[in-house]
Each structure stands twice: as structure tokens, then as C-alpha cells.
């Protein structure tokens, strides 16, 4: 095999693997990303029911209602709008009324059905995404805690 051919094989296989990776990345991007929306985004953008998004905001005070069989309903608010959220499962330890929350799920005609609830905060910290939603800078440097439920 000549030097030129060897170099061609090298470059060819490099481009081949890169093309494969690029294809996979584009495919992954079409289905693997979620938009992060605030309640106002969902109301104003008229997000179609059935769309998967991440909804972030504060758990509205006094809105948490526990049902039977681990069902729970609460409202996520950004001050201007609030969206009712339904969830079935165990809430994270740090889930509290009046605290920041991020929920992962599907927009429904009458609210939001979450399949994962993430609470990210401690007593004086708010996640960046939630802080952005609320247009308020985060409080002083507390420690962030992440928790999820599947």
C-alpha cells in the first residue's frame, strides 16, 4: 500500500466515524432535548398539549394536595402565572411549598403531568433556571443541592 493510500484510509475512516457521530448527534438533538419553560412561557407560547418540557418555578404556597396512592397535585408559579401539576410518586426530600422546583413531563390541556420532580435548593439558594424565571438574582452563596425522583 502506498503512502498516499494509507493516508487516504486514515482520513477516510476519520471522516467516517465523524460523520456517524454527527448523524447520531443530530438525531439525538431531535429527540433528546427538553425546553425549559416557566409557567408564563407555557401560557404565552401556547405550548401544544403533548409537548415534553421542563417546567420550572416555585411551588405555590398552600397548593400541595396529597391524594391516595401517592398522587399529588400542586401549582408551579412564577408570580405572573401558575400551572397545575399532577404527579404520582415520592416527592424529593427538599420539595417544599414556596421553594424552587423543576418538573419534567408533558403539557396537558388542563395543566401539566410530571413524571419527574426535581427540587434544587436549600434554605437560601435558588437554582439559576428558577431564578431567571422569577427575574430575581439568587441569594448569597449557599450550597446547591440536587435531588431527583425518577
Amino acid at each position: 500500500m502506498t503512502r498516499k493510500k494509507r493516508r487516504l484510509v486514515l482520513i477516510g475512516s476519520g471522516l467516517g466515524v465523524a460523520a456517524l457521530a454527527l448523524g447520531l448527534v443530530l438525531y439525538g438533538l431531535s429527540g433528546g432535548i427538553r425546553f425549559f419553560d416557566s409557567p408564563t412561557d407555557i401560557v404565552e407560547k401556547h405550548v401544544a398539549p403533548g409537548t415534553r418540557v421542563r417546567l420550572g418555578g416555585m411551588v405555590k404556597e398552600g397548593s400541595v394536595v396529597h391524594g391516595s396512592n401517592l398522587a399529588v397535585r400542586f401549582e408551579v408559579t412564577d408570580g405572573a402565572n401558575s400551572i397545575p401539576v399532577s404527579y404520582q410518586g415520592i416527592l424529593p426530600d427538599l420539595f417544599r411549598e414556596g421553594q424552587g422546583v423543576v418538573t419534567d413531563g408533558v403539557v396537558e390541556p388542563d395543566g401539566f403531568k410530571a413524571d419527574a420532580v426535581l427540587a434544587k435548593h436549600d434554605e437560601n439558594y435558588m437554582p439559576k433556571a428558577v431564578a431567571n424565571v422569577l427575574k430575581r438574582p439568587p441569594a448569597d452563596g449557599g450550597t446547591a443541592s440536587t435531588e431527583r425522583t425518577p
Binding site: V17, G28, G31, R34, F35, L70, P127, S145, E147
Partner: protein, 660 residues
Amino acid sequence: MIAELGHYALVLAMFLGLIQATVPVYGARRNDPVLMGLAAPTAIGQFGFVVFAFLALVTCYVQSDFSVATVFENSHSAMPLVYKITSTWGNHEGSMLLWVLILAIFGALVAAFGSNLPIRLKANVLGVQSWIAVAFYLFILLTSNPFLRIADAPLEGRDLNPLLQDPGLAIHPPLLYLGYVGFSITFSFAIAALIDGHVDAAWARWVRPWALLAWTFLTLGIAMGSYWAYYTLGWGGWWFWDPVENASLMPWLAGTALLHSALVMEKRNALKVWTILLAILTFSLSLIGTFLVRSGVLTSVHAFATDPTRGIFILAILTLFIGGSLSLFAWRAPLLKQGGLFAPISREGALVLNNLFLVTTCGTVVFGTLYPLILEALTGLKISVGAPFFNWTFVPLFMLLMLAVPFGPLLAWKRGDLLGVAQRLFGAAAIAVVGIAVTFAVEGGGPVLVPFAVGLALYLMAGAATELVERTGLLKVPFGTALARARGLPRSAWGTAFAHIGLAVTLLGIIGETQWGAERIVEVKPGDTISIHRYDFHLDGMTTRQGPNYRELAARFTVHHGGDLIGVMEPSKRTFPSRGTDTNEAALMSRGFAQLYLSLGDVNAEGAVAIRLYYKPLVLLIWLGAVVMAFGGALSLSDRRLRVGAPRPARGRAAMQPAE
């Protein structure tokens, strides 16, 4: 007083670092052995001062000296001693001090054990190492000083984040940093080679042990972090594709590529420029990881920092080192004499393929991690790139790579015989086919990919074993002869086999955990029994207890398997009044490689407690595989040809060594 001494020691370390960063490099240019000789003593002196500073901070924590701001913010007098010590690095400032401590350890190691290095190379390597050190000393002293005092010392500390009050904090960050920061040495070697404009196979031989050492620690560090998250977060996940985890995975992928390309460079004097580039990229990814975790650009449990000045400072360091080293590379790399090209079908060719896959896989992880940040900065659009993206990019690429892995060690250098290797892998392929068939039969339905993944894992294991079987002549020669030959095999051959088998073990664990597990989320009252996968859990009762700095609600379950009592599991929930937060202490019970996992949720009005119950088959293999990989790394490191500082063997003895 001790805090001030620590602060002072850190300043002195920085000044020694400044000398080390300039004088030996200048000496190397002037070819002055006296100036070059300053590198080693300054590196060791620097190490001494940083150790002193670090121990001073540990002392402040142990003594619960709340007049020191970081101690006040992250410690509590009621904490057990071990957590007082570990909370030293359970916060931004302290963990940066640990970072420079490990940087200094590696510098001192090169100084102490690099006696076989050419003096010019050693001077330049230690010089470059100190550039990094000085940048981070400045960062600590200017933005993240752990020794700052508070004017009115509070009586009690604010306690460590309860999630971090765990033995995991004692092990995970030091291991991870030894890996992360360990790649600074290969970076320094690469820059030194570029400064010198000269690189050869000997360079690769000096670099490879350092890469191997860092890689071994990084592998263990990542695995430890994964296991910690698994048992501490209370819902049994072991990898989340969180940017913080990706931050450690990126240097691991690049570092793995570096290990393999350095092998080609050492053995065949080829891929020189590429290896240097990989060394630069690997440490650059470590720096990017540090930036992601330390700057507060992400918000998660690891992101202690929320002060933007720190973020900008680290970003500046990042830009300086990555931009600077890549510019130097662009300028100087053409000076390096290119190694020869080689036949595509050869061990070199296989290692290039390995590099192509590892680097593209790494590229997809970098993309998935940075894309949301860049998109938000440019357009304000907030997205999250989660597991589905990585499942579609990382997983297929890595599976393809694994398919190629057994070919590498079996192919000869220079010119390999692909058909011959395929024939030698026939046994491994047969084992894989049997595995696929059995899995299909047992599974019935389910995803089609699963049996093939099982087959892939078996093939990988058998393929790695094939190499050893062939080289020892097992099955062909008498067992005693094979054993003698096995003893004579270079440790690096064993290391390779173990590392590759470890990969397969991890794959098996991942398949078991994700595909064959069972999960139940229910509410139970005392006296209730729930079952999962032939295991019965009976809730005997719940108790409240007082710990040193928390209150605890524990539930006692007796566990039966097929009617036999096999033990008691006691998951609990802890409330830490000082921070007003709760943590989940899941109960785990190992059954072979499987685990039963039980964690508590809230207690409802009727006195029933919500629980999460998991049966996770093969889950322990995920981490065991990583330990096997690291063991392979350690074996390879102990190979006498690589032993750090080993005297050059006499010619006669060298000839006796097994042919490679």
C-alpha cells in the same frame, strides 16, 4: 494563628512556584545545569508548603475554629471527627486547596522519581507544571481564600451540607482529583516537548506511566462518585448524564485515548503530534471540568460556588492555558519530526481506530454538556440535554468501539492479519452467540438490543482472554508450562486484558441494572408485607432516633426470600435542624451481584410511609468492572519497563526480557 500560618505557607508556595515556573525554563534555554537543577528542589519545597497549608486548614476544621469563615459555613461542632476532616474539602475553597495540593504532589513526584529524565525535559516539565500551580494559587488567594477570618467569631457553625456528610466525601473527591489533576503532568510533558521542539519514543515511555496513574485514579474516582450518588440520593440511579458527571467523563475518554496513542508512539515512534495534542486536550478537559463544577455555571450538588468573579477567573485560566497551549501546538508542532505512516490493518491501525472512536465519543459528550450553556448564552433559550441524547450518541459509538477492542491486542505491530485475528476470535464469537441465544430464550420479548449487548459483553471478555490463552499456550501445552509462561508475560499484557475485561463487566452490570431490574413505589403501614422479585418485605415498625447532629426516622423491614429469613433492612430519613434539610439513608442488601434497595419517602396522615423498593440484578458489576479496569491499570503500571524511576536495565538483562 494556625489559619494565618496556613495562609502564609500558601503565599510562600506561590512564590516558590514563581521561581519554579521561570528559572528552570530559562535555564533550559541557556543550557545552564545550575538553573535547571533548581526545578526539583523548588517543586519539593512547594509541595512542603502546600501540605502545611492544607494541614493547617484541616486543623481549623478539626478544632471547629468558627472564626475561620469556611469552617463556620461548612462545619459543626457536633459532627463526627471524620466529617470534620472531610468537610475541609466539602466546599469550594477547601476543594480548590485540595486541587493545588494534588498538583503539588504530582510535581514533587516528578521531581523525586524523575531522576532518569533528561535534565532539560525535567526542567521544562516542572516549569510548566508550576505555571498551572501559580495560576491556581492566585485563584485561591484572590478569590477563594479558605483562611479568611470572621471578625466576630460565631459560637456554632452552619454545618456541612447533609448530603455530603458521608464516607463518600472522604474517598470520591481525592480520587477524582488525583485523576483529573494527574493529567496535568502529561500536559506539562507535552508543552515541554513543544518548547524543546523535540520528541521521541523515549518521551512516550516517560509519559505513559503518568497517564496510566492518572487514568487509574480517575477510573476509581468516577466509579466511587457513581456509587455514592446511587446509595445516597435515594432512588437508585447511578449515572445521570449530569454536566458535573460529564465533566469527569470527558477527561476519562480523552485520557483513555491518550494511553493508547502513547503506546503507539512508544513502540512505533508514530502518532507523535497526535499524542501531544491528546495530552493537551485531556488536561484542557480537566480544566473545563473544573470550570463547570467550580464556577457555579451549573447548579447542582457539586457547584459550591455562586460568586461570578470566581467563574470569570477560572474562565481566564482556562482560556490562557487551553488557548496558549493550542497556539503553541499550532506554532511548534510542525517542527516535530513526523513518524511514519503504517498499514491500516495492524495494531497501530487498531489503536488509531480506538482513538477515533474515543475522541468522537468524547466530542459528543463535550457537545451535549456545553451546547445548553452556549445556546443559553447566545440566544437565551434554555434547554436541557438529558439521557436520551447520550443514549443515542454515546451508547452506539461506544458499542462499536467495544466490538473492535479484542482485535487490537491480537493484531501484530506493523502489519496484521485481519482474517487470522478474526479466526482466532472465533471462540469468543461462539461464546457470544450462545450468550445471545440464551438471553433471547430467557427474555422472550423485550428490547432486541439486550441480547446483543449481552453477547457483546461476553465476546469482549472472551476476546481479552483469548490473548492470554494464546500467549500462555493454555489448552495446548501442559498446565505447568502455561503457568510458567503466564508468570513470564509482561504485566502490561495482563493489565490490558484486565482493563478490557473490566469494561465488559461494567457493560454486563449496566444491562442487568437497566433491563432486568424491578421497581415498586408504594405506601406501607406497619404490619404490611410487600413483595418484589420473590423477596418479601415486612414492615415491623418505625422509630425516631437522635443522631449527633440530626434526628432520624427509621423503618425496620424483615426480608424473606422464598420463605427464608435473610435479614433486616432499615432505611431512614434524617433531618438536620442546623440546615433545615432532610437526607435519605437508603438500605441496601447485596445478594450476589444483585442488590435490594429500599428508601423512605414521606409519612402520610394515616401513618403509612411511602417507600421505594428496587431489585437491581448485577448492579454491583457496574462498579466492580471499574475496579477491575483500575486493577488492570495498576498492573500495567507495575510493569518493570514502566516503573517510575527504575534504573535502566543492564544490556544483558534486557535481552532476557520476554519479547513484546
